[in-house]
Amino acid sequence: MSLKSYSRGRAVHVMLVYTGGCNGCDIEIVNCILSPKFDAEQYKVFLTWNPREADVLVVTGPVTKQNEQPLREIYKAIPEPKAVVAAGACALMGGVYKNCHGDIPSEEIAGPVDQIIPVDAKVPGCAVRPQDLVAGLVSALPLLLNAE
């Protein structure tokens, strides 16, 4: 293990970006990292709102048209190496908002997330369970730790 990956493993910063979901996933993710019950902070995973210091981007919500450009820019602002976790049914396939009627895609939704930025890990659920999110974050970690 190189010095870089050693130090990266000691402070993984997760940035949560919210692109128009229902708030349920967001609160569960904040809950998962901050609350003493799940407490991802004890494994040195921290929540940040600043893309410049983030390592992992967690995206929730079906990306609305107005959130498409901000999401691309946030993705660009995160330094390499980076990983993207799409969390929740909306982020994976648009949820109920994208195509509720079956044949008429919504005009408001630009998503799902993997059509806009590359996604490394997908966490299903409506809303995501904190346990699942921890599993998703862990599966994305090798991308950070093994990067040159």
Binding site: C22, G24, K37
Partner: protein, 375 residues
Amino acid sequence: MDDKKENRTVIEAEVPMGTVHPAALEPYRLRLFVEDEIVRDAEMTVGVNHRGVERIMEGLPVEKANSLTEKICGICSNSHIWNSCRTAEIALGIEVPERAKYIRIIMEELERLHSHLLYLAHGSEVLGHETFSMRLFYIRETVMDLLGTIGGNRVQYGSAVLGGVRPRCELDDNRIKQITDGMDLLEEKTTAFADRFVSDPMVISRITGVGVISQKDAIRLACTGPTLRATGVAQDLRREMPEYDPFEFDVITQDDGDVKSQLLMRVLEIPEAIKIIRQAVRDLPDGPITNRSWEMQDTPITKSYIEVPRGTLYHSYALEDGRVRNCVIRTPSMANIGAMQHACIGHHITDAQLSVVQCDPCFTCTDRAIEIIKL
């Protein structure tokens, strides 16, 4: 307008925040016009997370539309599904069994508990007091566990269906015991927290006199819910709703209208919600939980108001061949946006975020306004 030079106000600088900003959990745009670090004017814009839920609901069968309203908001999901079912029940004249009414009340009050605890946790985080925030998230887990047990999901746990509640939400003796124990634990924990909160001189001095909304302004800006009650107006729709008739509870009011009143308002509403849940569990009537003997018919636009954790929620739609038409939803945060802007004005720029958060904003609920164009 008066264009004379001496009458113009010169705004020194504009501080835009958002739509994605480190201090805000949800995307919204807040423009602060400052003069020597004092906010002189504020403008809030929402609309970034507009998903058009009302448009999607148009033409859906009413049962499907009800379960879609649950997805409007991840915090007050039960309120939306309850009020949507209530609208159709009023329109079609469906009699809801007593037991189902009680279970709905229990779910609604549990939701009020978790929403208020989340508000306090978010408020403490904005204050910079992370210990309180973490402790409140921990207290909140008691409620989330109960909601997960009864509703089957930690977040989208909506209990209501047309004519009653879902069979999943039936309360047996085991669950009643869990609720009773949970309420005892929650009361102990929140009392300890409240004592700690009001006796902390640092916190109290930080929040006193900040973000003041006077009673006159609150009425002028058409505030609703706890935001209005914290300015001294005892307006609570639960007093008018027939569902709440069997229960005894107090309407809490505070006098000052500042951040301290708003936070204490929620702290003091928690024991009232616990009181209602205890009464509902104690007096839970026997009988069926769903009434399936009703017939679908066309109805004109019907409206329904209920009191949700943030204020008054309004749903209205007409039914045509069992499908939803002309759906309109108005959420309490929509009414409180004026108060959020107003509370920033005249205070230091560092208090602006706190002034917004004190009104308990939920912009996911709010962003739905649509324009239906007749072809």
